[in-house]
């Protein structure tokens, strides 16, 4: 789950990390001057006109009106953040994430923070563990050439590490990490991603950003072949096989283990939103899922959905025999393999 800037900064502040003074912008300003920032889950806000500095009440009202209705890369903000202006001396980059290959928490830094971070090289990285922030903070102060900020950076790393662990974060990226002209170190912007899997121990998690959908992904809205499969690997493999056969897959869909008739029927209805689909390939290798449930959903879809395209059905695994019987009564053929299902699909496209 990727948080919006103001949500991420609230978490940083609770962890003892300095963030700019701020308020949620509505009709009246709380303080001026201020910078009004669109809260959308994407980058490039500045270039798109989603970040505006305002000095007067008139400028404030105009900026709030404009930004509230300004879509950025398809996102229109529900919240606007108003922040104090910082007198910036330096902009640095600092992030903390999980290195999947070493199963360690790692920190990355760059002397040149700011908007063009992707094109910077010369990143430095450290492994973070309990209690090594004194040493890492010292090294970071040397790297940033900020010896007078050593204690501040040691505290920052300790707070950031504890924040990362206690919030089940996958990524905290502070960019820029601002050093002000009066030598304050403040998180100018922050991207934070939390682990959806850990929601069971965070009953307080309530964010604007919704849990991203991972099981249904549109690949090409104009595709001619829709796919339904179970398991991420098999669903990806079904898409690959469709494309490998020279057809255009519209979507990735993993109905997951334990899918039932209602959830599968709901998935069929979503596939009907693609205008050019000529055939739906259903590829189920049932372990925990049951083939007879899938068969019932197929039969329900045929009777309830108008203009349902032809189906190329391949089923295998748990309760296969029951599914064969159910589908035979409806004259729906089951293909013995994915290869055969794709051959059948080709005839419909």
């Amino acid at each position: 789950m990727k948080l919006l800037e103001f949500e991420a900064k609230q978490i940083l502040q609770r962890a003892g990390i300095s963030v700019p003074d701020s308020y949620i912008a509505s009709n009246e300003p709380v303080f001026l001057p201020a910078v009004i920032k669109s809260q959308v889950p994407t980058g490039g806000r500045g270039k798109a006109g989603g970040i505006v500095v305002v000095q007067t009440e008139d400028e404030y009202s105009a900026a709030v009106r404009t930004i509230a209705n300004l879509p950025i890369k398809g996102f229109t903000p529900r919240t606007l953040l108003a922040e104090q202006l910082l007198d910036i001396s330096r902009e640095l980059y600092l992030s903390i994430m999980i290195d999947k290959s070493t199963a360690q928490v790692s920190m990355m830094a760059n002397k040149n923070g700011g908007v063009e971070i992707e094109s910077q090289d010369g990143f430095q990285s450290w492994e973070l563990g309990d209690g090594n922030w004194e040493k890492v903070g010292q090294e970071l102060a040397d790297y940033f050439d900020l010896p007078e900020q050593t204690f501040t950076l040691q505290d920052l790393i300790e707070n950031l590490y504890k924040c990362f662990i206690s919030n089940d974060a996958l990524l905290i990226e502070i960019n820029p990490l601002v050093v002000t002209t009066d030598e304050q170190v403040i998180a100018g912007d922050c991207k934070m991603e939390l682990d959806d899997a850990a929601i069971f121990r965070h009953p307080d998690w309530e964010f604007e950003s919704e849990k991203s959908e991972t099981n249904f992904v549109t690949l090409d809205p104009n595709g001619t072949v829709a796919t339904v499969a179970n398991g991420a690997g098999l669903a990806m493999a079904t898409v690959d096989a469709v494309a490998d056969a020279g057809l255009v897959p519209a979507n990735f869909l993993d109905i997951g283990g334990g899918a039932n008739e209602a959830s599968i029927l709901a998935a069929f209805n979503r596939l009907m939103e693609y205008p050019n689909v000529r055939v739906i390939i259903i590829n189920i290798f049932a372990g925990i899922t049951r083939c007879d449930e899938v068969a019932k959903a197929i039969i329900a879809a045929r009777s309830q959905i108008d203009n349902l395209p032809p189906l190329a059905v391949r089923l295998a695994g748990t309760n296969y025999e029951q599914a064969v019987e159910l589908l035979a009564q409806q004259d729906i053929a089951i293909q013995p393999s994915l290869t055969k299902a794709i051959e059948a699909a080709k005839e419909s496209v």
Partner: protein, 285 residues
């Protein structure tokens, strides 16, 4: 990892009284696995088809030795279950549970490194040695004893490759699903080493995915150490960048993590590759 680690006769199931735990315990027994006991806190004294249920592994160990634990405990309690098995010094731990938080796996990895235990998974279908033993949920009815070693990150593609081989009369010695999470106990290289060192194995099927880089270390290992033919498919050729597909590990972080880049690298290292699961077994004939 060697064959004897996988064929221990004293298997327990953690979470044996849950619906998945009980269902798959019966399926494991039907496939020839010797399940001697199970745990479920607060349910000591019950039994599943005569298999005794205990409150904890320590309680089981006061009655009998344990070689292997298969874990079906829900995600919220899976960390405690795995750590319990590590503390009990169980040599092989197979965790089927899906959806364990990444931070829990970080802690588990640190405990594992200091232990003598091996973890397979989590978020995996487990291990099947056709005709011998089944530790997990791989459908044994679709397997055939033989000489191929299969290792896969994806559960359903493990079954797909296995069933395809069986249908063509090609049997398997090992079928191992290592799991779809980004941080896991056992990776390709451990399984490749097992297959290379076992004289009963004559060829290897490897199924990778988008996301992460473990296919690269596998390719390097194969080039240096594996003399048996390896047939590989990496799924997700049409995955969009930055979008998670299904489970946690399947997210395309950068070009290097793509199916195309991984396939090209495997091919360069002398591994037989294909771009579709439908033609993976064709490569072998």
């Amino acid at each position: 990892m060697n064959e004897s680690l996988l064929t221990g006769k004293n298997v327990i199931v953690q979470g044996i009284t849950g619906s998945h735990g009980a269902f798959h315990t019966r399926a494991m027994v039907a496939a020839g696995t010797s399940v001697i006991a199970g745990t479920s806190p607060g349910k000591a004294g019950q039994d599943i088809d005569g298999i005794p249920v205990y409150n904890s592994i320590a309680d089981i160990q006061s009655d009998m030795a344990v070689d292997t634990s298969v874990i079906f405990v829900p995600a919220a309690h899976a960390k405690a279950a795995i750590l319990e098995a590590i503390a009990a010094k169980i040599p092989l731990i197979v965790c089927i549970t899906e959806g364990i938080p990444v931070h829990d796996m970080l802690q588990i990895k640190q405990h594992l490194e200091k232990s003598g235990s091996r973890l397979i998974g989590p978020n995996c279908p487990g291990i099947l040695l056709p005709g011998q033993t089944k530790l997990g949920i791989i459908p044994a009815s679709l397997s055939l004893p033989g000489t191929v070693g299969i290792v896969s990150r994806s559960g359903t593609l493990t079954y797909e490759a296995m069933a395809d081989l069986t249908e063509r009369g090609i049997g398997q010695k090992y079928v191992i699903g290592i799991g779809g999470d980004p941080i896991k106990g056992t990776d390709f290289v451990d399984c490749l080493e097992l297959f290379q060192n076992d004289p009963d194995v004559d060829s290897i099927v490897m199924i990778g995915e988008i996301g992460g880089t473990s296919e690269y270390s596998a390719a390097d290992y194969i080039a240096e150490h594996v003399t048996k033919p390896v047939y590989a498919y990496v799924t997700g050729h049409h995955a969009p960048a930055g979008v998670q597909l299904g489970h946690a590990g399947a997210i395309l972080g950068g070009e290097r993590e793509s199916a195309a880049a991984k396939t090209a690298y495997l091919h360069e290292k002398g591994i037989h590759t294909t771009n579709s699961i439908t033609t993976l077994v064709d490569l072998m004939s």
